[in-house]
């Protein structure tokens, strides 16, 4: 049997001496969409950051395997090259570097890692334009500096474009729906749906149900107090939407 794409076991993580994740177990198979929901401060962002290698987090216990490989021992860039992608809650601006150039450098870093020749500027442009169409993004944004002066919606769409271009196997979306109006939300959701693939998995971290109206999850997990306190199907998200997180937190206490 193939190992799951992502297998997290007993993961305990602290930041500046404070334990944030207190034992996470999560198994994500290729072709599935998992939603991780939870109140503020429950450790949602910490989980996505620690899985993608951001510094400043201390893993106290547990493991995280990606396609059977020990993810936590790899530096951030290695994880990306292996096929793990994080769509940021707050995409970072880089002045003076065009989106196109940035994407090409990233794309070729990935190709190099997999022993493939780098793509020429012309071939890359073809690739990126196709992907821009897929996620309904204005190709003009490719010539602008990375996220520089982008609206909130443009930034999030740019994250989805990067996802489309880099073709990762595991996609972590960190509150991609935050700060989006309903139209932008729909476009982003359509982009994600267009990228669903039997070989690819999504872990959608979100505070609200509304993204899940458009990106239908196979599994929903509720993260509270640093633990997954409940897992279920998409109906769990609807229940949370109706009843809030209070009943779960109360059950925790």
């Amino acid at each position: 049997m193939k190992p799951p794409l992502l297998e997290v076991k007993g993961l305990k993580v602290s930041v500046a001496g404070k334990q944030i994740l207190r034992g996470i177990d999560l198994s994500v198979a290729a072709g599935t969409v998992h939603a991780i929901m939870g109140p503020n401060g429950s450790g949602k962002s910490t989980l996505s950051h620690v899985l993608t290698g951001r510094e400043g987090y201390r893993v106290e216990a547990g493991t995280a395997r990606f396609c059977g490989k020990d993810l936590l021992s790899l530096p951030a860039e290695e994880r990306a090259r292996e096929g793990v992608f994080l769509a940021f809650q707050y995409p970072v601006e880089i002045a003076g570097v065009t989106n196109k150039y940035f994407l090409k450098a990233a794309y070729n870093a990935l190709r190099k890692h997999h022993g493939q020749p780098e793509l020429s500027a012309g071939d890359f442009l073809k690739h990126v334009k196709k992907k821009a169409q897929l996620v309904e993004m204005d190709p003009a944004l490719l010539n602008r500096d990375v996220n520089f002066g982008f609206s909130g919606g443009e930034k999030k769409r740019n994250e989805i474009l990067q996802l489309a271009v880099l073709e990762p196997r595991l996609c972590l979306l960190d509150e991609t729906d935050s700060g989006l109006d309903i139209d932008a939300l729909k476009i982003v959701a359509r982009g994600i749906n267009a990228l669903r693939d039997p070989e690819r998995a999504f872990v959608v971290v979100t505070h609200y149900q509304r993204l899940l109206d458009y990106v239908e999850p196979d599994f929903v997990h509720v993260l509270a107090g640093g633990r997954i306190v409940k897992s279920g199907g998409k109906e769990l998200a609807l229940q949370l939407e109706k009843e809030g997180y209070g009943w779960l937190e109360a059950a925790q206490a």
Partner: protein, 505 residues
């Protein structure tokens, strides 16, 4: 006396040869050691037969320099006036830099490779000199074939090769070593030498005026667009030899020229003083573009060694609607003290300054510009990008002065600083002086830090930390790099990344 000099020369040669050998042995045997010195890839010493003055400065040494060059009396007199004036001056202390006191009597003020005979073509150049250039990655023949750039190669204060003279002379352009210009075009030199930077200008410029060894001279006659980019590579070579280059560029009415200056120097432990002077003169509607990449040895990671670069560069837009544009990428030197400026005398004239200055490890840079608006409707643009890393200290110092009669003038200044790490510093000293009410001056400044956020963002897309820093820094400098001639821009790109290697992670 003669025997003594010869013996001394032999001694110097032997020392240099031993040093040369040991450096190459080190390179072969100690790859690790070289790696820890990464960044400065041009550290070697070439064993060229040097002919140098005894250390120290006196009227006799100045007479020796002048005599060696066969200079006319007026130039010797000019040098001596400068020297006498220099004796009354004090070394400036206002710059935001720290360094031990310089022993001006310990410096050797003249050093020249011995030409075996008069050189007619590039093939006749000392093979050692040519190998040196090859190590620098700038073989003259390649320049000749590929770049279409005329190279006036200055090595050890004496110009040893000039190419493309023919094409230039057909266009009427004079481009030659300064000493040759003194011989061949004395009237032009006499007319313009010191007309922008007088010998009384400042401590270092005055010292240069007294002892300058050689440099470049370019003259573009009326209505001529120089048919190629003019390029000079400077190189500090003999041990303890201060370099005092003198460059003079004159563009007559409706003439235009683009001049490139690029520098590297061998690795050294003792500090080396460099005090160059560059003067530009633009007459009616003339345009001069002067681009520099400066990559002199910055000292090691602990701040030991490195070049002191105390340079005076100034241009005058003497004619109407003339334009002078300075672009500099300063990545080298232990200390940089440099303010390329423009005197905008002609009505409607334009001055520009685009600068990237990097201070890594223990480097100190105090650099900026002076824009002096004298004519009506004159315009100036200043774009300064300072990058500080390690213990580096980077200061922008700029003066914008608009005279009473310079009505309708405008200046726009943008001054951005980028910090990497916790121990470096960025400082800004803008001076604005506006003496009429119809002129407008704008100054914008930003300070940012390459943050963990930006780095993580790039790394999460598969880029290494070093590639990410290179990308972010080059993005930061983009507005300046786009002003550089294309081949220089490519070099500048690489140079910045090399200079910042190891400054993250």
């Amino acid at each position: 006396m003669l025997t003594k000099t010869v013996n001394y020369a032999i001694l110097v040669l032997e020392q240099k040869y031993t040093e040369f050998k040991s450096i190459f042995n080190d390179m072969a045997n100690e790859p690790l050691e070289r790696l820890t010195q990464e960044g400065y890839k041009y550290g070697f010493v070439s064993a060229i037969d040097a002919d140098q003055a005894p250390p120290g400065l006196s009227e006799d040494v100045i007479r020796l320099i002048s005599a060696k060059k066969g200079e006319p009396d007026w130039l010797l007199e000019w040098r001596l006036k400068a020297y006498r004036h220099w004796l009354t001056m004090k070394e400036p202390t206002w710059a935001n830099v720290r360094y031990p006191k310089i022993d001006y009597q310990g410096i050797i003020y003249y050093s020249a490779p011995k030409p075996k005979k008069q050189l007619g073509s590039i093939e006749e150049v000392d093979p050692e000199v040519r190998r040196t250039f090859e190590k620098l990655g700038i073989p003259l023949e390649e320049q000749k074939l590929l770049a279409g750039v005329a190279v006036d190669a200055v090595l050890d204060s004496v110009s040893v090769a000039t190419t493309f003279k023919k094409v230039l002379s057909e266009a009427g352009v004079i481009f030659c070593p300064f000493s040759e210009a003194v011989r061949e075009h004395p009237d032009l030199v006499r007319k313009y030498l010191g007309s922008v930077v007088p010998y009384t200008d400042n401590f270092f410029a005055t010292l240069n005026s007294a002892v300058f060894s050689d440099g470049s001279f370019a003259y573009i006659p009326k209505g001529v667009r120089c048919p190629m980019e003019l390029s000079t590579y400077f190189r500090i070579n003999a041990a303890s030899t201060g370099q005092f280059e003198r460059t003079l560029i004159v563009a007559e009415d409706d003439a235009s020229v683009s001049y490139l200056e690029g520098c590297t120097a061998p690795m050294r432990d003792e500090n080396q003083l460099h005090a160059a002077v560059v003067e530009l003169v633009a007459l009616d509607r003339a345009q001069i573009k002067y681009s520099t990449i400066q990559n002199w040895y910055p000292g090691d990671k602990d701040g030991k060694g490195g070049i002191y670069n105390f340079v005076t560069k100034r241009g005058i837009c003497r004619g109407r609607s003339s334009k002078i544009s300075w672009t500099q990428v300063e990545t080298g030197s232990a200390i940089t003290w440099k303010y390329p400026g423009c005197i905008l005398k002609g009505d409607d004239s334009v001055g520009e300054f685009y600068s990237v200055a990097l201070a890594n490890h223990h480097q100190q840079a105090d650099t900026g510009t002076k824009m002096i608006h004298l004519g009506r409707n004159t315009r100036s643009t200043i774009v300064s990008k300072g990058i500080s890393a390690g213990h580096g200290q980077n200061s922008y110092r700029g003066l914008v002065k608009i005279a009473k009669d310079a009505v309708g003038s405008r200046n726009y200044s943008q001054c951005d600083s980028l910090l990497m790490g916790e121990l470096c510093g960025a400082h800004t000293f803008p001076y604005l002086e506006v003496n009429n009410t119809s002129s407008r001056v704008e100054h914008e400044a930003t300070t940012s830090r390459i943050g963990e956020d930006q780095l993580f963002y790039c790394r999460s897309r598969g880029l290494s930390s070093e590639d990410a820093v290179g990308m972010i820094v080059n993005g930061f400098c983009k507005e300046v790099f786009k002003e550089l001639p294309i081949e220089f821009a490519v070099e500048a790109h690489k140079l910045l990344s090399i200079s910042l290697e190891g400054s993250v992670g």
